[in-house]
Amino acid sequence: MDHLQSTQLDLAGLLEESEHASGALLLFVGTVRENNDGRPVTGMSYTAHESMAERLLADIESETCARFDICSCRILHRLGALALGDASVVIAVRSAHRAAAFEASRYAIEELKKRAPIWKQEHYSDGDSAYLEGTPLKPS
């Protein structure tokens, strides 16, 4: 299943996905923030090593399901030029009990940020832009 999308992430569609009767659903949504350390942001561009990022996001979904007592974990990440407020990442976790959903969702987003080969470039109101600092990758 595709984890990377160049169009708006469909949050409502994700909420409609199967397995409603699990008990708890936790939806984490990262959105483009209007300022970073006080500097006004006008938008954000996301790029990825796409084939590797697809594999990493699928791996993180599987790991998250294996580590926590949850029913499902679904990750979508947007690529391309995003406007303020656009969703850049969505993680939907379903579980019988809420504690596992909170832990699993947090795990998935932290791993994604550390391991998925995705980069973001912030665009500022003065026309400047900058790639954000990140975490060096290591051989697995």
């Binding site: 590797m52 994604l112 550390k114 973001k120 600092e133 060096p136 990758l137 697995s140």
Partner: protein, 80 residues
Amino acid sequence: MQVHLRCYGALNPIFGGDRVAWQFSGASVQELLADLAQRQPGFASWQNRVACALGDHIVHGDYALTAGDEIALLPPVGGG
């Protein structure tokens, strides 16, 4: 040998594009990175923070390259 570099994220503006052919004398990934640090303006500060991948797999510094390999240069990541 000549290899093909794919330059991601902040490395893209340093190399002036996302695909660059690179000729160097050496055989391993770490020799390639050392050569880039010496000869490509702006790359030196990245040398120890960049991961290299062939296909979808990150390789160690001692990985032996073959002429024509396509090597992805991956700066530190931070999606989400």
